[in-house]
Amino acid sequence: MDTKEAKVYVAILIAAGVLGIILVYFIITIIRQQKKNLVLHKEKIQAEINTLETERKRIAADLHDDLGPLLSAVKLQINSLNSEDKEDAEIIDKSNSQIDVILHRVREISNDLMPHVLLRKGLVAAIKEYVDDLKESHILQVNFDSPAIVIPSKETEVHLYRVVKEIIHNTIKHAHATLLELKLYKENNKLILYARDDGKGFEYDQAIKNSRGLGLSNLASRIEILKGELFIESKPGKGTAYTIEIPL
């Protein structure tokens, strides 16, 4: 190279260096921005879901603890009436059975909002109960298999319970499956929830684009709160498999 070329070459080297600095700066800012985004996003969904759960718990408790005793009291009072009149006796009978229905519904709704088994006996028992209810109604055959596991926090249990419920709901609503295989187990310090149905499956991108529902995004949020990972394997005609891994 002659001196002129050498000068041009130095200029190029400087330009390449400047470009390099710009690129490095660009990459660093992107990584930092993404980290910030992640934190903000996590805080947001954590707050959203916390609000949701505390509200549910409150409503469930109000229904169960306030309405329940009140209704029972009313029932007692009605029963203490004794009427000679045959028509009145019939009305008392009718009211009695109606109050029973209301009591039953209140318990059902409250249980739906916040299952007592979940709070008292833990996740595995709660899922078992839910699955057994389904079995009786013959909507879907669910094979649930789990060793007795201790799950560190009630919060985790509630999240996982909702996740299982959403998976089962989706299977009933979309999959047209006959069988859902459900497993919950520990492996290498991870809690693994695995669900596989033999239904019609779906196209991943298509479903995300077309879905108006909040089911999957809610599910993803809960798993994110638990710092877990969600994998969905599905193909049209080949069923759907959900794998969820939660670090313990």
Binding site: V8, A15, A16, F26, Q34, H41, F231, E233
Partner: protein, 219 residues
């Protein structure tokens, strides 16, 4: 170091990514396959180049010209797999169409297919840079984990770095400025280093490609 050896090491460093990609090909999500194909194709192109240089052609221009077109199209396919170019159908047709048009014009009318042609190289470098910046923007919002362990992010960074330099360096060839061979080999030296660096990034990226499709929702 001897420039010849550096160029060999730099060229064949893609073998790392291609090898890992080949081993993992069936176990990774389909959405990453175009990139693996690019790595394998790049390796094949390097091998063919050596044969061509020692053959009667004495130049790898012919296969390199064909290779860049294939690489450009595969990258466009890859970015589409990642969700770019999906808003309007004609975007992808326009992109592929313009790429092919420029390639055909340059190689058959403006210049000759047996000489290294730079117009297409500059053009597709710009296209890939824009596509990868678009992807990176999506990743800021969509990615849920550590970006440095995100294969998509690493590949985009590789594309961004390599094609930024390539676009700039190709301009010297494009303008056919009368510099000495020595000057041009010095320019190549820069690109060789960048190429080596980016190929290593690619290898790491291929290693990080998740086994299963991770569920990600835009938020």
């Amino acid at each position: 170091m001897n420039l010849f050896y550096l160029s060999l090491i730099s060229s064949f460093s893609i073998a790392l990514a291609a090898g890992i990609g080949l081993v993992r090909f069936t176990t990774i999500p389909k959405t990453y396959r175009p990139f693996i194909l690019i790595c394998i194709l790049a390796l094949v192109n390097e091998l063919v180049s050596i044969v061509m240089i020692y053959s009667v052609f004495a130049s790898n221009a012919l296969n390199a010209n064909i290779y860049v077109l294939a690489e450009g199209c595969l990258f466009v396919w890859q970015f589409r797999q990642w969700g770019s170019l999906r808003k309007k159908k004609w975007h992808i047709y326009l992109l592929i169409g313009s790429m092919v048009l420029i390639w055909v014009y340059e190689n058959f009318f403006w210049s000759h297919i047996t000489s290294i042609n730079s117009l297409f190289r500059v053009y597709y470098s710009f296209c890939l840079i824009f596509l990868s910046v678009g992807q990176v923007n999506r990743l800021i919002v969509e990615a849920h984990g550590n970006l440095l362990k995100n294969a998509r992010f690493l590949i985009c960074m590789g594309v961004l770095i390599f094609y930024s330099y390539k676009a700039i360096m190709e301009v010297f060839y494009l303008l056919k400025i009368q510099f000495s061979d020595n000057f041009y080999s010095n320019i190549d030296f820069i690109l060789l280093l960048v190429n080596l660096f980016v190929n290593l990034i690619y290898a790491v990226a291929v290693l990080w490609i998740p086994k299963k499709q991770k569920f990600m929702l835009p938020f």
